[in-house]
Amino acid sequence: MNRVTTLMALFQRESWEHPNLIWRIPVGLIILNVVLAIASVMFGLEYFGTENLKFEFEFNNQDLQGGPGQAAATFFLISYFLLSQIIAVGYLLSALYEERKDRSILFWKSLPVSDFQVVLSKALMGLVVIPGLYLLAAMLTFLLVTLVLSLGMTFLLPGIELFEGFLLAGLNVGGDSLRVFVLQIIWGAPVLLWVLLVSGLARGQPLVWAMGIPLLVLVVETAFLSEARIFDWFYAHATPLFFGGAWNPVMGGASIGLADGFLAAGIGLVLFALTVFGRRHFHEI
């Protein structure tokens, strides 16, 4: 079996085990938002009618691209992205814990798949696949909602092409958020891989351990040192780039320092290696 086939099979396995987290929630969000958009258009047409509707200002495509279009795209991308990070933490907390708790690790380990491959699949699922799927869902939601609103607008304001303006705004914001998405993988790696490590080692209550140890570090640092540098660094990386002030949806641009990026990647790799070691040696609970 080649490694790609095995990795794809492992991803599929994760989607069987966590269908709600991985695809049902984003699909549900798309449907919910589209239904809400349709309902609001229908309600608007029903309530106002097309004849009495008057706007006090003139729309043009430039306005729609820079204002409401950008705001709508940003809203969907940021809210879905934040949700994806919470979902990723929840997924990683159980990723290596549940198989030890229900003893199914004995079955998985009886198959010719290495601990490295299993941990890699779970790490990539939490770091890349889940946030990626939610980002895709956000873009799809924006596209479909825009389509619904555009159709509604053709009845309300004939001549105004909402779709094109919104789409351009969405492409702008979406393009930038892709860059943030890639940077976030490095930025968030130490925290998410810490959660995965705890999931592989804890004999109970992985959430308590995952949060408790950093808090213990904070207490120790506060008690013995003048500043909590380790905890502050960890806390900063626990805050997604979208919310850490490093990204501005209107101005665009997101960055992480080169040294900090290397440090985050390095610590992420060490945590990954420890997790592989843990899966090799820590078994049923």
């Binding site: 079996m1 086939t5 095995t6 794809m8 099979a9 492992l10 599929q12 396995r13 069987w16 085990e17 198989e99 229900d102 003893r103 199914s104 004995l106 079955f107 380990k109 009886s110 198959l111 010719p112 798949v113 290495s114 601990d115 491959q117 040696h281 078994h283």
Partner: protein, 290 residues
């Protein structure tokens, strides 16, 4: 290479408890070996060490490979079924087949489907909807379709009713054994596997008490239903165990010739279960080897 498994000086300690104490044994290719011992004897610990599922001291070689270095590569040729309930409950039967086919180079999907077709297992169901017996049947179907050379079973039929247990071993006999394939099985239901075994290992308190080919066991140990009038004469031959019966006693002898036992009563082949009970009851500290 004539041994499927070679274990030398295997030791494992859990805190103050010495689970395995310099255990050594070999499992020849093509053998069917029963690893028999009371609860806490070290059977599961030994099997986990062999499979590379736990750290250990000593040297273990499985099909020419070390379970320490790359256990996942070893599992291409080794199948393992632990006691019931280790298949993940959320997994669908069909998905279990699909996944195993994707990751196991020798998995024969058609064979697995053919085996499952003979059962009542609904392929669209999740494991959690199956009975204990069905879960074991599914696990066995997966393992049999992997075309492995060595099968390791650790109390595979624990908690199953007699029908499922019988079907399980019948399937092992029909679908697995033969062509130099090796089976190492640990179970408490010794009588049900006695007809399959070629070798026997008794383990107790982390030490091997008996390691022998079954034919040698039968020629060394003899059971005699001793008549009442011969009981004193029989005791003089220092039996391994004595079990009172209505008309006399059942005694098991170690290394006493058939001629010497002929006048005592009816000599018969010793059962593994009664030999096991006899040996465990005896305060045996030294390893018996044949």
């Amino acid at each position: 290479m004539s041994n499927a498994i070679s274990v030398q000086g295997l030791s494992k300690r859990f805190g103050d408890h010495q689970a395995l104490d310099h255990v050594s044994f070999e499992v020849p290719k093509g053998a069917v070996v029963g690893l028999i011992g009371p609860n806490g004897a070290g059977k599961t610990t030994a099997l986990k060490a062999i499979l590379g599922l736990s750290a250990f001291e000593g040297a273990v070689e499985v099909l020419g490979q070390s379970p320490r270095s790359a256990p996942h590569q070893m599992m291409t040729s080794v199948g393992y079924i632990s006691d019931v309930g280790i298949l993940p409950r959320w997994l669908k039967v069909n998905d279990a087949l699909k996944f195993t086919q994707a990751i196991h180079p020798q998995f024969n999907l058609e064979k697995a489907r053919a085996i499952l077709a003979k059962t009542d297992i609904p392929v669209k169901q999740r494991v959690k909807a199956l009975s204990k017996g069905m879960v074991t049947q599914l696990h066995l179907a997966l393992v049999l379709a992997m075309d492995v050379q060595l099968l390791i079973l650790d109390e595979p039929t624990l908690g199953l009713d007699i029908v499922y247990r019988s079907q399980f071993y019948q399937q092992i006999l029909n679908e697995f054994l033969g062509e130099d394939r090796t089976l190492l099985i640990s179970t408490h239901q010794v009588e049900e596997i006695e007809s399959l075994l070629t070798h026997l290992i008794f383990i107790d308190q982390g030490k091997i008490r008996l390691d022998a080919e079954l034919d040698n066991v039968y020629s060394r140990y003899r059971a005699v239903d001793v008549v009442k009038s011969q009981i004193l004469a029989a005791r003089a031959l220092n039996p391994l165990s004595e079990q009172a019966q209505i008309e006399g006693a059942c005694m098991i002898f170690d290394g006493v010739s058939a001629e010497s036992l002929a006048d005592l009563g009816t000599t018969r082949r010793v059962g593994i279960a009664e030999l096991f009970v006899a040996m465990m009851s005896r305060d045996a500290k030294s390893t018996a080897s044949i």
